[in-house]
Amino acid sequence: MNLQKWTSDTNSGILHLRSPPLSTLLFLIGFPLVVAVILISARGMAARSVVVVFAAIVIAAAALSLVLPRAAFMEASIALPMESIEKGVFVLELALAAFIFYLGIRHTRHFVSLLALLQAGLAVTTQVLYGRTVTVATPLAADKFSLIMAVIVGVVGSLIAVYSVGYMKAYHEHHREFPDRRPLFFFLQFIFLAAMFGIFFSNSLSLLLFFWEVTTLCSFLLIGYNGSTESRAKAYLALTYNLLGGLSFAGAILYLSATTGVVEMDRLVSMQRDLALIPAALLAFAGMTKSAQLPFSSWLLGAMVAPTPVSALLHSSTMVKAGVYLVLRLAPLLRGTLAGTMVALIGGITFLVASLIAISQSDAKRVLAWSTIANLGLIVLCGGIGTYEALWAGILLIIFHAVTKALLFLCVGTYEQKTNTRDIESMTGLIVTMPKLSIMIQVGIAGMFLAPFGMLVSKWAVLRAIVDSNPLLVVFVVFGSSATLFFWVKWMGKLIQVTEVRPADEKGIATRQWIALSTLAALTIALVGFYPVISSQLIEPYVRSLYGMVTTISQGNLIIMSIMLGLVALFPVTFFIYRRKVRVVDAYLGGGNVDSSTRFQGAAGEVKTMEMRNYYLEKIFGERRLLVIGSIACVAVIFVMFGVAL
């Protein structure tokens, strides 16, 4: 792509500071907490519904207010009475660790208890040894990257919450075997949102770690929501991996306190690189566990046992995005280092292996899960490369992926709610039986990999960023992208294929669910038009502030892509010429059709029914084999990463 580069000397004059009001930041963390408390005490469906919808609107509006009206404001840091905050957080952190310790003992998961204990030990050590000497000037801060993330969580997370209200009602009608603990469900969902805002607005690393651990605990409780043995096992898997990351995070804080005394994000990323490499590697490791990179991918797949909104929440906008957010934050430190190359390599391997595995999956939710892991890998790769081009591409990927993946998850959840299956093979003819849902899934799929939609634009940028820094990594991107194409198109093909005409039936899906779905679908399309604005107003200023340089897509290519979008957008027009004069015949079945396109006369004269099943190529792209290969490779690379960081 034709990238335009600006250096800081031509544009450095634009940094006129205008801070986002502290009150809004605090509100975004505090308000969901209040809502959570209200929801755990609200028993009636009607009351809950009103509270959730109202809260969702307020949160989304507050998050948007951070970016919409004041396009000019830049980084801002806020001074707070930090001593009391630090102390309070420390106490809460220990309480969290104690709770996890207790859970581990109660369910005889001793490793979990051990991890919690170790992490608490690290926190206490840090506090006792360096609590007085190491100070934090700005515990909370928001730059443009934080704001982008906040808007994603505010909008997508809120839509998922709105969707949940209707979905969870149907969920408990279908699954009478599970206890109805909806108040807890919504409580956790809003705590989750609060913690995510906390992560994005924390400048103090220990504060960030605290919110980080809150999301870990929430995800544990949400995955184990229905209380079955299976879901409890998966919940512990998620907890274990995320605690490993938390431990690494706590180790980074201890190391930083002991060596440099810098425990703030903004000061960390502007530090000398050789001093910060070890904590950067430790933090990147934490990010990779949270973002389910190989070999830690299994917790995200296990999370599929939870109700769909949880999957959507974990996968698209929140939990996993916290991991890649952290890795991208570290980009300036990782750039050009061997440790950074290793981080990029892990991302690259994850992208390739996860994309290949997705080919062999026929469970729609698992396809989405593997695709999520793959795309997170791509973002980690961007962070590892760490150049301004890569950072730009990585942030763009986060935005597009959050919206598109949330849409796809909620669509699949809706499909499952209606049909009790999520097998892609069963989706034949969905365009006839559930036309609206089918079109939304198609929008989502197109958004994931087709030109000119967002994810493709980002991949294009990634490719461009790699060839300038490390062409070896190109291998992972080009092969991974090809696999991506294969598994998305064959799914799309299933949706539009019609072998027998059945009546449409989309009843029983709550209006609130439709609202969430159609908003996300509209956003997926609208983002293609809007992202140049998002890029110029938010991403580019952020990247420029770090590197003094920035990249974007040239005017000419934007025009070309607009033309492409225009062409693709013409497709629905064909619905209006649908009843054109053509002769309709049965499909060709070797001349042996028996009154239809699906039944034919076999060699012995018997009537057979034809079936069409997609390729899954399990012998080549089977999950087990590839996962083992990918995991071994990534473990090796992780060791090298720590080795070269030392």
Binding site: L472, F479, L485, V489, G556, Y578, A587
Partner: protein, 286 residues
């Protein structure tokens, strides 16, 4: 180029490309016939065929199946315009892929077992050749420092000198792209196709004609990319492109169709060994 010039060039390309592509198709049939000791049809036979197809009735299995073909055609025309006006090479490749996906979706939509198998196989082949296509663009970028077709074409470096591996790899996957034997798994112009006409089984009359014309466009674009390897010396570009075209026809007539495992495996091995290998050499030597 000014906007007016760009539009003019695009128009010329859009009109000329199918004429060239159709003519090449005629040459293909003539040469193939001679290789098989036949006389072969007149040079202009592909044009006569298409003209006749346009007079035929449109028969479908699913009413909307042809719409996908229209979009396949439209994006192929668009890709041709992009390439010959010298736009971004990667963007051109993405547009080409998008066009290909519309054709696959058309075959899915037709919902017939033969077209369905053709669609699945075509997808598999796309997955097989796509890495090498992208690596070709990356290789050209590494030498010329630009993804813009115009810049690559005007580069004073003879690309083939530094990118021999990528060139060979690209010619190899052209066998896939132009659906030549041994890789004509999804649809074939030979009579010996075990899945009837695969991808295009359920397309008739004018729709089939559009698929054929789109194929001419595609031929023009991919041979254009071949020419880029020799762009520094124009006469060599012409000779080399003709030689590559002849080579493709020769291979088409010599080899029998292979199974998909071999197709996928060979394409990826070629991309890894020749494509990536060449890129690494260029990167580390520079």
């Amino acid at each position: 180029m000014s906007a007016g010039e760009t539009i003019l060039v695009a128009l010329i390309a859009i009109i000329a490309a199918p004429l060239v592509g159709g003519l090449l198709s005629g040459i293909d049939r003539k040469l193939s016939a001679r290789m098989q000791s036949r006389w072969g049809p007149p040079l202009l036979q592909p044009f006569y065929d298409v003209a006749k197809l346009f007079q035929k009735e449109t028969i479908v299995v699913r009413r909307s199946q042809n719409f996908y073909v229209y979009f396949f055609f439209a994006f192929m025309v668009f890709t041709t315009g992009l390439f010959f006006t010298g736009s971004d090479l990667l963007l051109t490749i993405f547009a080409l892929t998008l066009a290909g996906i519309f054709l696959v979706l058309a075959a899915y939509k037709a919902s017939s077992p033969y077209s369905f198998l053709g669609a699945e196989r075509e997808l598999l082949l796309m997955m097989a050749y796509e890495p090498m296509v992208l690596l070709t663009a990356v290789g050209m970028y590494l030498v010329t420092r630009s993804f813009i077709v115009v810049d690559v074409a005007r580069s004073s470096v003879l690309l083939i000198q530094t990118l021999p591996g990528i060139f060979v790899g690209f010619v190899f996957i052209l066998l896939f792209k132009l659906r030549k034997s041994p890789f004509d798994l999804s649809v074939s112009h030979h009579a010996h196709q075990e899945i009837v006409r695969g991808l295009t089984t359920e397309f008739t009359g004018p729709t089939l004609a559009l698929i054929e014309i789109a194929h001419w466009y595609e031929t023009a674009v991919v041979l254009g990319i071949v020419a880029l390897f020799f762009a520094a010396v124009p006469w060599l570009a012409a000779v080399a492109t003709a030689a590559v075209f002849f080579f493709l026809i020769l291979v088409d007539n010599v080899f029998a169709r292979v199974k998909w495992q071999l197709a996928l495996g060979s394409a990826w091995i070629v991309a890894l060994a020749l494509g990536v290998g060449n890129i690494l050499v260029v990167y580390f030597i520079r």
